[in-house]
C-alpha cells in the first residue's frame, strides 16, 4: 500500500523496530557464538610479571590449564626499581565465570603464569595460568601472578646456540694450529718440518762418531805398539799438540757433563742426547787410553822401542793426530758456535725460552695432535655422529 505521508508515528513503526531488534540480537548471537565478542560481559583483571615479554602481544590468548579463558589486554614496562627484574607486566582480562564456577576458585594465589609459544614456528606467545591448589587463597582483582618458566622453543634454541659457539671457539684455533703446522709456519712447524736443521744435527753427530771410530783405530794401533812411537815420544811438539787436544777435549766433555750452557739441556732430551753422550764417553775412553799410552811411553814400557824406531809409524801417528786435531777443532767450532748462539743449532741450543716453548708446544702438540687425530679419525669414520648433533640443534 503506498504511503500517503512522510511523517510517521512511532506506533506505525512497531514492526520495523521489532525486526531491527531481532536482527541486532541475531547478529550479536552470531558474533558471540564462538565467545570472542561479548562487550557486555564484565571481565576479571589479573596481572603477570615477566623478565621479558618474549613475543607476547596484547590480544594474545590467556589459558587456564590449556583452556582459553581470556585475552592479554596490555603489555607494559614497569619502573626500573621493580624487584626481581621482572620489568614486563602483562594485564590479563579473563572471564569471571567458567562453566558456572567463579574464576577465583580456579586461579589461586599459588597459581603461576607461564609464557608459552603458540607454535613451534614463529615467536607468538600466549599465557598459560596453572590452576591453583587448595593451599592458595582466592585471587582478587588485579592480583599479580608469579611467573614460572616453561622451556620455550626460544630458550632451547639459545642453549643450542651457546653450545655451538663454544664448539666453534675450540675449533677455530685448533684448526689454525694444524694448518700452520702443516704449512711449516711457527716454531713447532719449523721444528717439525725444517729438514735442514735435522740434517745439520744428524750430520754433526754422524761425523763425530766417524771421527771417534777412526781415532779409536789409531789408538789401538799405538797401543799395540805399531808405528814410530819413539818419534812421537821424542817430539815435544807432537806431545804438546796431543796434550792440548786432550785438554781441550776434556774441557769440552767436562763442560758437557756439567751441563753447562744449553747444550747440556739439549742432550738430556732426545736421540741427540744419547748420541752426544755416546760420543763423549768415547772421547773420554780415548783420552784415558792416551793417558795410559803416554804413561807407558814415559815409563818406556811395552813395544815402545818399536814404536820409537819406526818412522813410518811416527809419520802415521802424526797425520792421525793432526786429523784428529782438525776434527776436534771442528767440533769445538760447532760447539762454540752453538754456545754463542750462531746458526740454527746454536739458536736452538742457546735460546732457553725457545727451548721451553718448543718443549711446551711439543707437549701440547703431542696431546693435542693425539686427540685431534682421534677426533679427525672418528669424524672420518663416523661423520653422521657429528652431523646429527648439528641437525638436532637446528
Amino acid at each position: 500500500m503506498p504511503r500517503t505521508r512522510q511523517r510517521i508515528k512511532f506506533s506505525e513503526l512497531r514492526v520495523g523496530i521489532f525486526v531491527l531488534a531481532a536482527l541486532l540480537v541475531l547478529g550479536y548471537l552470531v558474533l558471540n557464538s564462538s565467545g570472542d565478542f561479548n562487550p557486555f560481559e564484565k571481565k576479571f583483571a589479573l596481572k603477570a610479571r615477566f623478565v621479558s615479554a618474549d613475543g607476547l602481544h596484547p590480544a594474545a590468548d590467556v589459558q587456564l590449564a590449556g583452556v582459553s579463558i581470556g585475552k592479554v589486554v596490555d603489555v607494559k614496562f614497569l619502573p626500573s626499581d621493580t624487584p626481581d627484574g621482572n620489568r614486563i607486566e602483562a594485564t590479563l582480562s579473563v572471564s569471571r565465570q567458567i562453566q558456572g564456577q567463579p574464576i577465583d576458585e580456579m586461579i589461586r594465589t599459588d597459581s603461576t603464569a607461564q609464557l608459552i609459544a603458540t607454535s613451534v614456528l614463529g615467536n607468538e606467545k600466549m599465557i598459560n595460568i596453572t590452576p591453583g591448589t587448595e593451599k592458595g587463597n582466592a585471587v582478587g582483582e588485579n592480583f599479580v601472578l608469579e611467573a614460572s618458566t616453561a622451556i620455550s622453543m626460544n630458550q632451547l634454541t639459545a642453549t643450542g646456540n651457546d653450545l655451538l659457539k663454544q664448539i666453534n671457539k675450540l675449533a677455530i684455533p685448533a684448526n689454525e694450529i694444524l694448518n700452520k703446522a702443516n704449512t711449516g709456519e711457527g716454531t713447532l712447524g719449523k721444528v717439525v718440518n725444517d729438514d735442514a736443521l735435522y740434517n745439520n744435527l744428524d750430520g754433526a753427530v754422524a761425523e763425530t762418531k766417524e771421527t771417534m771410530k777412526r781415532l779409536q783405530a789409531t789408538i789401538d794401533k799405538i797401543n799395540s805398539g805399531q808405528g814410530s812411537a819413539g818419534k812421537l815420544v821424542n817430539d815435544p811438539k807432537l806431545y804438546d799438540s796431543l796434550a792440548k787436544t786432550a785438554a781441550s777435549l776434556e774441557a769440552i766433555s767436562s763442560d758437557i757433563r756439567a751441563g753447562k750452557g744449553s747444550a747440556g739441556k739439549i742432550v738430556n732430551d732426545d736421540a741427540l742426547y744419547n748420541e752426544t753422550r755416546a760420543a763423549v764417553s768415547d772421547l773420554r775412553k780415548i783420552t784415558e787410553d792416551f793417558k795410559a799410552i803416554t804413561a807407558d811411553l814415559r815409563a818406556g814400557k811395552g813395544t815402545l822401542g818399536k814404536l820409537l824406531t819406526d818412522d813410518k809409524v811416527y809419520e802415521d801417528t802424526r797425520s792421525a793426530l793432526e786429523r784428529f786435531n782438525s776434527t776436534a777443532g771442528r767440533i769445538e767450532a760447532i760447539l762454540s758456535d752453538a754456545q754463542a748462539g750462531k746458526g740454527t743449532l746454536g739458536k736452538f741450543i742457546t735460546d732457553e725460552t725457545l727451548y721451553n716453548s718448543v718443549n711446551q708446544t711439543a707437549n701440547n702438540v703431542a696431546t693435542f695432535t693425539g686427540e685431534g687425530t682421534q677426533l679427525l679419525k672418528d669424524f672420518r669414520a663416523n661423520p653422521k655422529k657429528y652431523l646429527r648433533i648439528k641437525l638436532a640443534i637446528f
Binding site: 503506498p2 504511503r3 512522510q6 511523517r7 510517521i8 513503526l13 514492526v15 520495523g16 523496530i17 525486526v19 531491527l20 536482527l23 541475531l26 547478529g27 552470531v30 558474533l31 557464538s33 564462538s34
Partner: protein, 256 residues
C-alpha cells in the same frame, strides 16, 4: 522523515512483504508456471555472465596466488587455494553480486514500471495479491537458481584456474586436480551452497520491495532500480560476513 525512520520503514515494509510472500506460498494459487518462467529468465539467463565471472575469477586467483605459493614452494596446493577461496567466498558472493546487478535491477525495473503504469493497482483491483503473484515466484526462483548458478561459477572458476596454472605456470594438470580434490571438503561445498540460498532470498526480496514502492513515474523507476542493486549488493556482503561466522560455528574454521 529522518534517515533512521526511513530505514525502519523500509525494514518494516520488507518484513511485511516477506510475510505476505510466505502466505503466498501457503495458499493456492501458487503460480508454478510463473516460477518456472522466472527460473528460466533468472537462472538460464544469468548462466553466461555468471560463468564468465567465475571463469575469470578463477584465472585471476591462480594468477595472483601462484607466485606466492611458488615462493614458499607450495605449488602443489595451488588448486586447493583456488578451490577454497572460490567455493567458500568468491563464488557465492561474486555470483550474488552479478545476479543482483542483472536480475535485481530487472525485477525492480519491471515491478517499478508496473507500479507507474498502474498495473499493480489493476492487479490488486482484480483481486490478486502482487506479493503472491509477482514477489513469491521471483524470490523462489532466485533462491532455487542462485545456488545452481554459484555451482556453475565455481566449476568454471576451477577450470579457469586450472587453465592458467597449466599453460601460464606449467603446473602439472594432475597436481592441480589432486590438490583440488584434497582441498575441497564437504563442509566447504555445503557452506558454498547455503550462502547463495540466503543471497537469493535477499536479492529477491529487496528488489521486489524496491520495485513495488516505486514513486514518481519513470524517474522513480530509475531510482528504485539503482536502490535495489545497491541495497541488495550491500546486504549480500553484510550477510556474507554473518553467514560465514555462522558456518564457521557449524563446520569449524578449518584451515587447509
Amino acid at each position: 522523515m529522518n534517515p533512521f525512520s526511513r530505514f525502519l520503514v523500509e525494514l518494516q515494509d520488507i518484513s511485511f512483504l516477506f510475510w505476505r510472500m510466505l502466505r503466498g506460498l501457503r495458499k493456492q494459487p501458487r503460480y508454478f508456471d510463473e516460477m518456472i518462467r522466472q527460473m528460466d529468465s533468472i537462472g538460464v539467463g544469468s548462466l553466461a555472465i555468471v560463468s564468465l565471472t567465475g571463469f575469470f575469477t578463477g584465472c585471476v586467483l591462480i594468477l595472483q596466488a601462484y607466485p606466492t605459493l611458488e615462493y614458499y614452494g607450495a605449488q602443489s596446493s595451488a588448486g586447493q587455494s583456488v578451490a577454497i577461496t572460490l567455493i567458500r567466498e568468491l563464488g557465492p558472493v561474486l555470483c550474488a553480486l552479478m545476479v543482483a546487478g542483472r536480475v535485481g535491477s530487472a525485477i525492480s525495473a519491471e515491478l517499478g514500471s508496473m507500479v507507474v503504469s498502474q498495473q499493480i493497482d489493476a492487479m490488486r483491483a482484480l483481486g490478486t495479491s502482487p506479493a503472491r503473484k509477482l514477489v513469491t515466484p521471483r524470490v523462489i526462483a532466485l533462491v532455487v537458481t542462485l545456488p545452481l548458478l554459484t555451482v556453475a561459477a565455481d566449476v568454471f572458476g576451477l577450470i579457469g584456474g586450472g587453465i592458467i596454472a597449466r599453460y601460464l605456470y606449467a603446473l602439472d594438470a594432475n597436481t592441480y586436480i589432486t590438490s583440488l580434490r584434497a582441498g575441497i571438503t564437504i563442509q566447504d561445498i555445503i557452506g558454498g551452497v547455503i550462502k547463495p540460498l540466503a543471497f537469493g532470498f535477499i536479492i529477491g526480496l529487496i528488489s521486489c520491495h524496491k520495485g513495488l514502492t516505486t514513486q514518481g513515474g519513470t524517474v522513480g523507476v530509475g531510482k528504485s532500480t539503482t536502490d535495489a542493486v545497491v541495497l541488495s549488493s550491500i546486504t549480500v556482503i553484510i550477510a556474507d560476513f554473518f553467514l560465514s561466522k555462522v558456518l564457521q560455528g557449524f563446520f569449524g574454521n578449518t584451515l587447509f
